[in-house]
């Protein structure tokens, strides 16, 4: 056997030789990080330290988060599932307040919201983090990371409202990642937005507890909910969430008479069953209203499902037919450029109310929220 002493000596010799070799000046191999994205905007050097709302203090400095149905029980110095809320000595803090990482100006139709100020732009923003883990997330680069892993701007709610005004956007959209996880920031931005005559809409999965949702809805003008499937199995396996709390939240949004549109991303062979679609449409008709717009959107493979096929057009048209047969009045097909179900049709006379070419509007036949041809009231926020 080789003796231990010799072994250690040789290890030391090799290690020192290897270390010595690295002292050569070889330049920067993995260069340093990037700077702020949008020119002229301040960059946040650290995370925020603003006390969170909706949490409960427990024994031994633990807290229970009350924002989403996960009800994370968080020990000191730990974070909730979303990675954006941290317990510091028994107090719960949001780390993303005033720390958006993504800003854009998008047509409101891109959200998609078709009955909410059509033809206008939305000042769109997001912070890092999410309270679910959809395997098909379109924005996984920000939703599935912690806030310190992205570059953040430093923009207060006042700044956001001012920017929306300066870019001529009548709406602020909380979008891309899940706005529920930046609840406090979204709420305050919405309040500041209203002070500046700017609307606010949340683009959300609606995985939120009833109490915070009701409070939030006071500040919002509209909500677009991503209803990801109509089965608990799908939510468990592909979203890491639950369906029932989402359905409850949708009912609350509708009952509080906030503008609501639903999006159903059709993933081939996973949530495209005719029976599932029928059940969902019947639920919408029964529990909400046939007037709630439903967008059936084509799946473009992303993130962990990026090698799945896209949704065939025929599947979308078939599901559209089922939704219409179930009595829904406003059913759209999204992500299929140039299809005839991009337009808004009057459920009474069948004529085109809003003609759409992508994100551009053509003919508009709604006057004072009514069909120009048959005077039927068309639900939505039109002005």
């Amino acid at each position: 056997m080789i003796d231990r002493r010799k072994f250690i000596i040789r290890c030391a010799q090799c290690t020192s030789a290897i270390t010595a070799s690295t002292f050569l000046d070889l330049g920067a191999f993995i260069p340093g990080g990037a700077e702020s994205a949008v020119a002229g905007l301040p960059r946040a050097e650290d995370l925020s330290h603003v006390e969170a709302r909706h949490y409960r203090k427990l024994d031994e400095l633990e807290v229970e988060c009350g924002i989403c149905p996960r009800k994370c029980r968080v020990s000191p110095l730990e974070r909730g599932y979303c990675g954006t809320r941290e317990n510091e000595n028994g107090k719960y803090y949001t780390l993303v307040y005033s720390r958006p990482c993504s800003l854009n100006i998008d047509p409101i139709e891109k959200k998609p919201l078709f009955h909410f100020l059509p033809g206008t732009n939305a000042f769109s923003m997001a912070t890092a983090g999410c309270n679910v883990n959809c395997k098909f997330c379109q924005n996984w680069n920000i939703s599935q990371v912690r806030p310190e892993q992205v570059e953040n701007y430093l923009l207060t709610p006042d700044d956001i409202a001012r920017m929306a005004v300066s870019y001529d956007c009548p709406t602020i959209a909380y979008t891309y990642s899940e706005p529920v996880i930046f609840y406090e920031y979204m709420y305050d931005c919405s309040v500041k937005g209203h002070d500046n005559n700017v609307h606010s809409v949340a683009i959300t999965g609606a995985y939120i507890m009833p109490e915070p949702l009701k409070e939030l809805l006071d500040a919002l003008d509209g909500v677009k909910v991503d209803l990801k499937a109509f089965s608990e199995d799908f939510y468990r396996d592909y979203v890491r969430g639950e369906l029932q709390p989402v359905l409850d939240a949708i009912k609350i949004i509708h009952n509080q008479q906030k503008w609501l549109e639903l999006v159903y991303l059709v993933i081939p062979t996973l949530n495209d069953k005719e029976d599932e679609m029928k059940r969902m449409c019947n639920w919408i008709s029964r529990e909400l209203s046939p007037d709630v717009p439903l967008h059936l959107t084509r799946f473009h493979p992303m993130y962990l499902m990026k090698n799945l096929p896209s949704t065939p057009r025929d599947t979308l048209f078939k599901l559209h037919e089922i939704a219409r047969e179930a009595g829904l009045n406003y059913v759209y097909i999204g992500n299929v450029p140039g299809n005839k179900y991009e337009h808004t049709y009057c459920p009474q006379c069948g004529k085109i109310l809003i003609e759409r070419y992508g994100y551009r509007l053509g003919e508009r036949n709604i006057t004072d929220s009514r069909c120009k041809f048959c005077d039927t009231k068309i639900p939505g926020v039109w002005a």
Binding site: A28, I30, A34, N307, P337
Partner: protein, 729 residues
């Protein structure tokens, strides 16, 4: 007996390469092909070989394992293939769902390692049995010869023309008959069972059945194996999805990506005469190109099967374009034609293609083929609404390469990063109004790239954001080159599997020196793992260092071989036959080094050969490192350099191996020399794992080779110290 031993080692080499190639191909065909996985798969095979050699020399040294080994090898390879294809499904992954890197590595380990161990075990056990007839160097030489011939057979005869699974079934049946003939009638039941199994599996068309099971619930429209991988087309309603090595390549019909790819650059041109398309879904792209008055459309693609699939499933049956089946680099280097528009459709970072198509040297080839007023266009993924740090660094390295090759360039953030490059004086106009007016003026009708979407696609806010990001991303003057494919490491860190992970953060956050200390420290520790096995020799000091020398030599040789192949592909293209030729050249050089040096050193004192071989190897490596530095300035000649490195690395490998073996033989005959083979394999495996994904992108070829010279010099010093100690003792 002597002939039997020779046949044994030759057949072992032949089987090893065929089965190894097939298993690794199968691994890559079922999971995303990137440099990490490729290196890992080779490492598993090499490490398994080492373990096998050690067991074969140790516990099983006197067993009759060598009789049954070939049949066992067949069965483990068969089990490995089935496991590779179906295990993700068994774990609950949906077809097309990304399997996490750790799970992929686990699957690779379970499916490749047993076959590798048996292959190594056969060498060790076989050596113990035949050592009186054959020296270790001879056994190694015969193994290499089998390896080289098997490699050429698989490249020239098997994979381009025969369905690999069918060939595999035939080969395991033949191997059973061979075992029966070589080792006698005691094996006949075992052999007959394997023959019956292969016939049954062929009759049941198990290959198709496994694919069907793998892709269920999707319906397979077509599946073919090409030399470059597996092309699968699945059908749903009237839509086809084409997969290459299980990664989605394109959808038919496709509107959005083909319209963006063609119209963004084509509308910048005043005249449309000749267009060159480098890869992609030609059916969809040609439909868009026909909206202009292009007189000639040339299409270059390397994989004939992929092109045939697109032609078969595409909407248009006219096919009025010329197809050139070759590597785009070769085409660009050899063509005399110049083009008004050159399009390189978007490809996934995950394929590691950024090593080859977004480098300074590639852009130089484009320059040669582009008309003075022409436009070259390519797109890279950005990550969508937010550009992560790793992607912004990857984009910046490509941006730097573009800016040093084109006088006029513009990036459009769509949100893919679409690079428009030219030498024309007129600047690119990327205002939405410009595109809207031109589309209307030319009467072009598009589904997606039309006035309805153009305002959003070309949103000025997004363009400003992107350019600010490019300006502020600091990677110094680093640009993506063939000699330092820096983009590949950023692309790897931003992949779905690693993006946002601990490893990704660590790599992005760490500075240069700690990164190097970490990598080389890890390498050092891995190489030192050889030490415990040196106790076998009972002679401490000199021989353990011989084994370390062998491991470092294996590392060095594989390092140089991979570097050379990378450069070779950059210059000569990834044409399958060329690469096979390069690998065969390596094997031949290896055999020459082994024979010449082996013959020479037997006439000298035992210590001298090790010292001389190491010294020669170091000199060659450093010389090549310096040459590479020189050739960076003259890339027109680096094709020759890559061939030179292949020959040098092969020769060095043979020389050092032979020196180690002969030295050990003189001091400790018996099983010891075969340990050298195990150590050599092990070092090569480590190199396979770290060179392509880490060392080349981080260090670049020049510094990597020079550091390699330093590493070998240190080993030489250690040998000196050890000899001195022994003499003093």
């Amino acid at each position: 007996m002597k002939i039997r031993g020779r046949i044994f080692f030759f057949t072992l080499g032949l089987c090893s390469i065929l089965f190894q190639t097939y298993l690794i191909r199968e691994f890559l065909a079922n999971y995303t092909v990137n440099s990490i996985l490729l290196g890992y798969a080779i490492f598993i095979w090499m490490a398994g070989g080492t373990i096998g050699v050690l067991i074969g020399l140790g516990r099983l040294s006197t067993s009759s394992m060598y009789r049954y080994g070939f049949n066992l090898l067949s069965l483990t390879v068969l089990a490995g293939i089935v496991f590779l294809r179906l295990f993700p499904k068994f774990l609950g992954y949906y077809p097309g769902e990304i399997v996490p890197l750790t799970i992929k590595m686990g699957i690779g380990m379970i499916s490749i390692l047993p076959s590798a161990i048996i292959s190594g075990l056969l060498f060790g056990n076989g050596y113990c049995i035949y050592q009186r007839q054959l020296s270790a160097s001879k056994a190694y030489l015969l193994d290499i010869m089998g390896f080289a011939i098997g490699g050429i057979m698989s490249s020239v005869l098997i994979f381009p023309y025969i369905i690999p699974f069918d060939f595999f079934l035939v080969s395991i049946a033949l191997l059973s008959i061979f075992s029966l003939l070589l080792f006698g009638s005691r094996l006949w039941i075992f052999s007959m069972l394997i023959i019956a199994l292969s016939v049954t599996l062929a009759a049941m068309n198990v290959n198709k059945a496994i694919s069907k099971l793998k892709w269920a619930p999707y319906e397979i429209k077509a599946e073919t194996d090409s030399p470059y991988g597996r092309v699968t087309a699945i059908q749903q309603e009237n839509q086809y999805s084409v997969y290459f090595n299980s990664q989605k390549h394109s959808t038919i019909p496709d509107r959005i990506s083909s319209e963006l790819t063609v119209h963004l650059p084509a509308l910048q041109l005043e005249s449309h005469d000749r267009v060159l398309v480098l890869g992609g879904n030609i059916e969809a792209l040609s439909r868009e190109l026909k909206k202009y008055d292009f007189r000639k459309i040339d299409y270059v693609a390397i994989d004939e099967e992929l092109v045939s699939t697109y032609r078969e499933l595409g909407e248009s049956k006219e096919q009025d374009y010329t197809v050139h089946i070759t590597d785009p680099r070769n085409f660009l280097r050899n063509t005399e034609t110049t083009y008004d528009l050159i399009i390189l459709p978007s490809v996934s970072y995950g394929l590691g293609i950024s090593n080859r198509f977004y480098t300074n040297e590639f852009f130089e080839l484009i320059n040669k083929t582009l008309n003075p007023g022409g436009v070259f266009c390519f797109s890279l993924d950005t990550g969508g609404s937010y550009i992560p740090q790793s992607i912004s660094m990857a984009l910046k390295s490509v941006y730097n390469a573009v800016s040093s090759n084109f006088s006029n360039y513009q990036v459009i953030y769509t949100p893919d990063a679409c690079f428009l490059c030219s030498h024309r004086a007129k600047p690119f106009d990327i205002n939405p109004e410009y595109y809207t007016d031109r589309i209307r003026g030319m009467g072009i009708t598009n589904s997606f790239f039309n006035p309805g979407y153009i305002g959003d696609i070309l949103s000025p806010f997004r363009q400003t954001e992107f350019m600010a990001r490019m300006e502020s991303t600091d990677i110094g003057k680093s640009s993506n080159t063939d000699f330092r494919p820096i983009t590949s490491i950023y692309a790897m860190l931003s992949s779905e599997e690693l993006g946002g992970s601990f490893l990704s953060n660590m790599m992005l956050g760490i500075s240069a020196k700690p990164a190097l200390v970490f990598i080389f420290g890890l390498l050092g520790l891995l190489l030192l793992l050889v030490i415990p096995f040196t106790s076998h020799h009972k002679v401490p000091g000199f021989f353990d260092l011989s084994l370390i020398t062998a491991a470092v030599s294996g590392f060095t040789v594989m390092f140089m071989e991979l570097t050379a192949l990378e450069l070779f592909q950059s210059y000569y293209g990834s044409v399958y036959l060329y690469i096979s030729f390069a690998i065969a050249l390596f094997m031949v050089s290896n055999a020459i080094g082994l024979e010449i040096f082996g013959f020479y050193i037997r006439r000298f004192k035992p210590i001298l050969p090790v010292l001389i071989s190491q010294w020669v190897a170091i000199s060659l490596i450093i010389m090549v490192g310096i040459l590479t530095k020189l050739f960076t300035t003259f890339p027109d000649y680096y094709g020759i350099l890559s061939i030179a490195i292949i020959v040098v690395s092969g020769f060095c490998g043979g020389m050092v191996f032979s020196a180690s073996v002969e030295t050990i033989v003189m001091h400790s005959p018996g099983r010891s020399p075969a340990f050298t083979y195990g150590s050599d394999l092990y070092g090569a495996g480590i190199a396979a794992m770290v060179v392509m994904p880490l060392l080349l992108p981080i260090l670049g070829v020049n510094w990597a080779l020079l550091l390699l010279g330093v590493l070998n010099s240190l080993i030489l010093m250690l040998i000196f110290i050890c000899i001195k100690l022994r003499v003093a003792g």
